[in-house]
Amino acid sequence: MPTLVSHPDEVKVVSRRFGQGAADIDKYVELDGYKAVQEAIAKGPEWIINEMKASGLRGRGGAGFPTGMKWSFVPKQSEKPKYVLVNGDESEPGTCKDHVLFLHDPHSVIEGTMIAGLAIGSKLGFIYLRGEYRYLLKIVEKAVADAYAKGFLGKNIFGTGVDFDVITQTGAGAYEVGEESALMESLEGKRGVPRIKPPFPAVVGLYGGPTVINNAETIANAPHILLMGGEAYAKLGSERNGGTRLFGISGHVERPGVYELPMGYSLRKAIYDVAGGIKDGKKLKAIVPGGSSCPVMLPEEIDVGLDFDQMGKAGTMLGSGGIVVLDETVSIVEFALRTIAFYQHESCGWCIPCREGTDWIKKTLTRVYNGGGNKKDVDNVQYLAENMLGRTFCPLGDAAAMPTIAFVKKFRKEFEDYIAGNKAGTPIITVEQLVGAH
C-alpha cells in the first residue's frame, strides 16, 4: 500500500482528504463531499464553466489544456448523447498520482464527473482505470455503488430531478490507451489505436457523441474549485497556471512520494526540500521532469517553476507531474535504452514512423549498450528520433522522440565515450533481461 507523505510547503486541495478515510461515503460527505455538485445543479452550466475558466485549471493528464475552455467547446445541442470520460489510465512511467487519488478520495472523482456532466449537459460518465489498478477499481466501484445507494447517482439525484449515471471501466494493459481517442476506442471494445483528428472528442467522441475527456486529477479538482471559487483556486498557482498539482517525485531522492504543490513551485525546492534531496548524499545527474516522455534536464537547469509555461520555456515539459530524479551513478545510455524500450513496447504500431522508429532506436541502443556500438550510431539515433518528431499519427511518437533527442543532445559525450569503451554510471540491465522483456 502506497505510503502517504507530507511536507509543510504542500498546499492541499485535491489531496485534502487523503488519509482521512474519505473512500467511505459518509466520511466524504462529512468532509464537504457532494456539496459542490448540489450547488452546481442549483447554479447551472454557465456558472460551472465560468468558475472553471476562472480557476485557470489546466489538464493534469499531460498536455495542460485549459479545462474550462475544453468544457465550453462541447456543443450545447447534440443529436447524440454527450459523455464525460475520466482518464485514469495513468501509464506514463514516473506517474502514480491518480493511484493515490483513487485510493484515498474516489468520491471526489465521481463528484467531479458529475460536475463535468452538468456543465456540458451529459447524463452519463465513465471512469476508466488502467487494468493494473484492479484494487483501485474495486474501491471506485464501491464508491459508485454507495453513491447510487444514497441517491447521489442515478435518477433524480439529490431529489433535484436531474439524472446522472456513472460506469466504471477497466483497461487491460496498454499505455497508448491513455491517449484520449485511443481510450475511447478501448472503451468501445476495440484495439486501443487512436482516431483521426479532427473531429475532436468535444464534437465527435465516445460512441460518436460529444465527449469531455479529462484526467482523473483534473476532474477531482472541479468540486474543490466550485467550493472555493475559481478565482481563489487560480490564486494558489502561478500565472496562467491556476491552483495546485499532485507531483510524484521518484527515483534517487530521500523521500519519494506524491506531494501537492502549488503550480509554479520551484523544481529545485521540490527535489531538495520537499523530497529530501538526493538519496544517500549522492550528486544529481539529471531529472526527467514530467513522466518519461519529457526531455531530460541537467542539474544546472532546475531553477525553474513547475508550471506548463515555465517548463516549456526551459525546453522541456511539465507533463504528467512525475518527476524522476537520477543520481550520478546512472548510465544515461542505459536510461535512454530503458526509456525507448518502453515506447517500443507500447507503440500501437498504427503508423510507420512510431512503429519502426521506436523499434530501430531500441535495437540500435541495445547494440550500443552491449558494446557493439560504433560512432555513427549516435547520429543515427538522433536522425531517427528527429524524423519521428511531429510526423506520427498521435503524440506517442513524439513522446518517444523527444526524450531520445534530449538524451543524445545533452549527453552526447557520454554516448560517444560509452561506444569508445568508457562507460559512465553503473549499468544494471543484463542483455538477456532486455531481450526477454520486449
Binding site: A174, E176, G189, R191, I196, Q344, H345, E346, S347, C348, G349, W350, C351, I352, P353, R355, E356, G357, T358, D359, W360, K363, T364, R367, K376, N380, Y383, L384, N387, G390, R391, T392, F393
Partner: protein, 798 residues
C-alpha cells in the same frame, strides 16, 4: 456541395467542399504519394507518406485526411516534405526484406517506386530484421509478414469492401501482423487460414508484395508479360480484367488475371474467378486437333481441311435432303456477339432453319417484351454504384454476380444508397439493406402480383403482410429506383414486376443472368422465334435481306425432343454443353449428325461426330454484352496452337457448304485478304487499323474472318446496337438498349419456361469451371472449412 478555391504548388484549384486534399490533387494532376490511402475505403492516416505543408499549420499535415478549404495554401513537394517522406521510407525499409529481385511485386511495387523517387535506397540499417515465415492462407492467398508495410488496405478491402471480415490486425507495435480468421490452432493442419470468398481483393490492394496470389507467385516478372485488357468470361457482370500473358512454345499462356486497369464497369473489383480462373485455358486435357468419328466409332484426329470438308458436305447434304427444319443449332453464352450473330445468321440463311436456341439463364425475351416501347429504362452496371436506391428482387449477386454485389456495397457505404432486398433466402446483401423482405419459398410470383395490384397475393408472398405494405410504400417513395431482378422472375411474373416499376418515375431495370455473354446471346437472336434485337420473325422489314424461314423454330427442349423422335438430322453445338445441362439421354442423338465446337470433351462433345477445338473468350477479339446491356471489347490475350475461334469455324463451314460469303459476312470491297491467314497475334492490330480507316472514311479491307467485319451489320441491323465504334475500340463500356419496338409484340406466352439458372457457387463456373485447377482447389479448400464460429455475421450496430 459548393466548390472551394485553394492553392496547391502555386496553382489555383477548385474542388467540391469536403474533397480530401489528396483526391483534389490527383484530379489536378498533382501526385501525392500514399500507402495507406485507397479511394473509397476508410481513412487510415497511418503511413504518413502523404504529408504536405499547409500554410498556418504548425506541422506537416496528411493530405489523405485533410479536406480542402477555402483559401488553403498547400505545398506538396518541398525539401522538408521530401525529407519527411525519405525518412519514412528509410524507417520502413529497416525491417523490410530487400528481396525485390524475387518478389512478385518487384517492378510494380509502390514501395519500390517511392524509394526510387525519394532516394531512400541507401540504408544505414544495421540491426537484425524481424523474421517470420511466409504463410499460405488459402490456395490463392499467401502472406509474407516481413514484406508487409501495415497499410491496412487489405483489412478494409475484406471488411468494408467485401463485407467478409476475414482479416484482422493482431499484436501491436512492431510485432503487429495481419491475421486471417482461422488461427493455426483451430485449423486441421495447424496453419493459419482465411475462411472467405477468396476474391483476392486483399492482394490487389496490397501496395507491396506481402500478399501474393497462388496462381501467379514466383511465375514471372511483370515486365516479361504482355498485359491485355479484356472481359472476364465467368459471369454476367462482365468485369474488365487484365490478363498477363507470356509466350510459350505453343502460343501464349495466361499467367495472371488482375484489375490493374481500374477504368472498367467493375471499378476496383475483381472476384476470384476473374482473378484466378483463367487457368482452364491452360488445362492439359484441352482438345487441340479436330476429331472426326470413324465408322468404328472412334474419334480420330484429322486436319482442319478434312474436318471442315466433312462438316460442310454433310450439313449441305442433310439440309438439301431433309430440309433446314431438320437441323438444330445451339449457341453459347460465352462466345462473342459477333459469333452469336454470325451463328444465327448462318443457321437462318445458310442452314435455313429457325431451330436455334441457347442455354437461357434469365428471361431476356420477357424482359425486352415488357420494356418494349420504353426508352432509357434499363440500367448499366455502373448505375449500381451510384443509384440513390436499389430494389433487388431475387438473385444473390454475392455469388452470382460478385461485381454487382461489390458495387451495391460500395454504393451503400460511400454514397448512402438505399438498398431494398426481397428474397426467399437470407442472402448476404441483406446486411447492406435498409429493408429486407423475407419471401416465402417460391414467393416471387405472388410478390409480383402484389406489386401489380393484387392485394390478396400479399399473404402468399410473405407471412407478415404489414411488412410487405411498408416495403412497397418505401419503394414507391423512391425516385430513380434501380430495380435489379434475379432469374427467379420470368414470363408473366417478370412483366408484372416491370409494369409496376414502370409506374415509378425514373425507375430503371436490369435482369441478372449468369455468363459473360448470356445477354448478348439473347440480344443476338440465338432464339427460335426472334431475330436479333428481339425482332419478330413475321412481318419484319429489318432483316428482309435475310430470307429467313418465317415460322418459329424449335427451342432447346424441342430440338432434343425432335432428336428423340428421329426428326433431327443434324445438331450444331457451339460452345455449349446441353447434354449435361438438360440431362439429355445420349441415346436420343444416335441418329443425328452432331458437330460440336468446344475446348474440352464435355458430355455433349463426346457424343459428336465432329469435334472442332475452339478458342475461348480470352483467345479472340470481339464484343460481349453483360447482363445489364453494357457492351465491351474483348481482346485476344492467350493463344493456343491448334484451336480456332468459333467465328472462323462458322465461316469455314459456311464456305464449305457453298454459301455466298459476301452475303454472310459483309467484308470490305476489293479485299485482298487471304482466307485463313488473318488469325494469330496480328489480327487485333489489323482490325483496329481497319476500323480507324473506316472512321476516317477510308476504305476498309477486312478479311471475312475478322469479327469486326460483321459488327458493321450488327450495328446497322440490330435494334439498340447503335454503338460507338471508337468507344468500343478504346476499351470503354457502353450501355445499349435493345428493347423491341412496341408494335408487333412477340407472343412468347406459348413457350415453356426455358430458363435454367446456372446455380454456380463462388467456386464453380458452369462446365468451363470444371477445367480450372484453381477453382477445384478452392472447392476442396472450402470443404475443409471448420464447421462453425468463424464467419458469423457482424452486427450492423458496431
Amino acid at each position: 456541395m459548393p466548390d472551394v478555391k485553394f492553392t496547391v504548388d502555386g496553382k489555383q484549384l477548385t474542388a467540391p467542399a469536403g474533397t480530401f486534399l489528396i483526391e483534389a490533387c490527383k484530379t489536378n494532376g498533382i501526385e501525392v504519394p500514399a500507402f495507406c490511402y485507397y479511394p473509397g475505403i476508410s481513412l487510415k492516416a497511418a503511413c504518413r507518406m502523404c504529408v504536405v505543408r499547409i500554410e498556418k499549420m504548425p506541422k506537416l499535415q496528411t493530405a489523405c485526411t485533410t479536406p480542402v478549404s477555402e483559401g488553403m495554401v498547400v505545398q506538396t513537394e518541398t525539401p522538408e516534405i521530401a525529407q519527411a517522406r525519405k525518412a519514412t521510407l528509410q524507417l520502413l525499409l529497416g525491417n523490410h526484406p530487400l528481396d525485390c529481385p524475387v518478389c512478385d511485386a518487384g517492378g510494380e511495387c509502390e514501395l519500390q517506386d517511392m524509394t526510387f523517387k525519394y532516394g531512400a535506397a541507401e540504408s544505414f540499417y544495421a540491426e537484425p530484421k524481424h523474421h517470420r515465415e511466409e504463410q499460405k492462407w488459402s490456395p490463392v492467398v499467401y502472406y509474407d509478414r516481413p514484406r508487409c508495410i501495415l497499410c491496412y488496405r487489405c483489412i478494409s478491402m475484406c471488411g468494408e469492401g467485401m463485407d467478409v471480415f476475414a482479416l484482422g490486425i493482431q499484436a501491436r507495435g512492431s510485432s503487429s501482423v495481419i491475421a486471417p480468421n482461422v488461427p493455426a490452432q483451430m485449423s486441421p493442419d495447424d496453419l493459419a487460414h482465411v475462411d472467405c470468398e477468396q476474391c483476392g481483393m486483399c492482394i490487389d490492394a496490397c501496395p507491396v508484395g506481402a500478399l501474393t496470389s497462388g496462381t501467379y507467385r514466383y511465375k514471372t516478372r511483370p515486365w516479361e508479360m504482355n498485359h491485355v485488357s479484356t472481359v472476364c468470361t465467368h459471369c454476367g457482370d462482365g468485369c474488365k480484367t487484365t490478363l498477363g500473358v507470356r509466350s510459350t512454345s505453343d502460343g501464349s499462356e495466361i499467367v495472371r488475371g488482375d484489375n490493374r486497369d481500374k477504368s472498367g464497369i467493375n471499378n476496383d473489383f475483381l472476384c476470384n474467378k476473374g482473378r484466378y480462373a483463367f487457368d482452364f485455358a491452360n488445362n492439359e486435357t484441352r482438345i487441340t486437333q479436330p476429331l472426326v468419328r470413324q465408322p468404328n466409332g472412334e474419334l480420330k484426329p484429322v486436319s482442319w481441311e478434312t474436318a471442315f470438308d466433312h462438316v460442310g458436305k454433310k450439313l449441305r447434304e442433310l439440309r438439301d435432303t431433309r430440309g433446314g427444319k431438320s437441323i438444330g443449332v445451339i449457341g453459347s453464352n460465352r462466345t462473342t456477339n459477333e459469333e452469336a450473330y454470325l451463328l444465327q445468321k448462318f443457321a437462318r440463311t445458310v442452314l435455313g432453319t429457325n431451330n436455334i436456341d441457347h442455354h437461357r439463364t434469365a428471361d431476356y425475351v420477357s424482359f425486352a417484351q415488357s420494356l418494349a416501347g420504353n426508352t432509357d429504362r434499363t440500367a448499366s452496371l455502373r448505375d449500381t454504384l451510384t443509384a440513390s436506391a436499389i430494389l433487388l428482387v431475387g438473385g444473390d449477386p454475392t455469388i452470382q454476380a460478385p461485381g454487382t454485389a461489390w458495387n451495391i456495397r460500395t454504393n451503400v457505404r460511400n454514397h448512402r444508397g438505399r438498398l431494398y432486398v426481397a428474397n426467399s433466402a437470407e442472402i448476404k446483401l441483406r446486411r447492406q439493406a435498409k429493408s429486407f423482405l423475407h419471401l416465402a419459398p417460391f414467393g416471387y410470383s405472388a410478390l409480383a402480383s402484389y406489386f401489380a395490384g393484387d392485394a390478396a397475393a400479399g399473404s402468399e408472398a410473405v407471412g407478415d403482410t404489414d411488412a410487405l405494405t411498408t416495403f412497397r410504400e418505401a419503394i414507391k417513395a423512391e425516385e430513380n429506383l434501380l430495380i435489379l431482378i434475379g432469374s427467379e422472375l420470368r414470363g408473366k411474373d417478370l412483366k408484372k414486376l416491370i409494369d409496376f416499376g414502370l409506374t415509378l418515375p425514373g425507375a430503371k431495370f436490369a435482369l441478372i443472368s449468369d455468363y459473360a455473354n448470356s445477354r448478348g446471346a439473347a440480344d443476338m437472336g440465338l432464339l427460335p422465334d426472334l431475330l436479333p434485337g428481339y425482332t419478330p420473325l413475321a412481318g419484319n422489314t429489318t432483316f428482309a435481306e435475310y430470307n429467313t424461314p418465317a415460322a418459329p423454330g424449335l427451342d432447346m427442349i424441342e430440338i432434343f425432343e425432335a432428336a428423340e423422335r428421329g426428326d433431327l438430322s443434324a445438331l450444331y453445338v457451339v460452345g455449349s454443353n446441353p447434354v449435361s445441362r438438360y440431362g439429355i439421354d445420349p441415346a436420343s442423338l444416335k441418329d443425328t449428325f452432331v458437330v460440336v465446337q468446344d475446348m474440352f470433351l464435355t458430355e455433349t462433345a463426346v457424343l459428336a461426330d465432329v469435334i472442332l477445338p475452339a478458342a475461348n473468350l480470352y483467345e479472340k477479339s470481339g464484343s460481349v454484352t453483360n447482363s445489364y446491356g453494357d457492351l465491351q471489347l474483348v481482346s485476344k490475350a492467350g493463344d493456343r496452337a491448334g484451336v480456332r475461334t468459333d467465328f472462323e469455324m462458322i465461316v469455314r463451314i459456311a464456305d464449305k457448304m457453298g454459301a455466298n460469303m459476301r452475303e454472310l459476312i459483309p467484308f470490305g470491297k476489293g479485299t485482298r485478304a487471304d482466307m485463313g491467314q488473318s488469325r494469330g497475334v496480328h489480327s487485333g492490330e489489323a482490325d483496329r487499323h481497319a476500323v480507324w480507316l473506316a472512321a476516317n472514311n477510308m476504305e476498309p479491307k477486312l478479311s471475312p474472318f475478322d469479327p469486326f467485319a460483321i459488327l458493321d451489320e450488327i450495328q446497322r441491323l440490330v435494334p439498340g446496337y447503335n454503338l460507338l465504334r471508337l468507344q468500343l475500340l478504346s476499351g470503354n463500356d457502353q450501355h445499349l438498349q435493345p428493347a423491341a419496338s412496341s408494335n408487333g409484340l412477340v407472343q412468347i406466352g406459348s413457350r415453356r419456361d426455358l430458363v435454367l439458372p446456372a446455380n454456380d457457387t463462388l467456386f464453380t463456373s458452369g462446365t468451363l469451371g470444371r477445367y480450372s485447377t484453381m477453382l477445384s482447389d478452392l472447392q476442396h479448400n472450402e470443404s475443409l472449412r471448420p464447421p462453425t464460429g468463424l464467419t458469423q455475421i457482424q452486427p450492423a450496430a458496431d
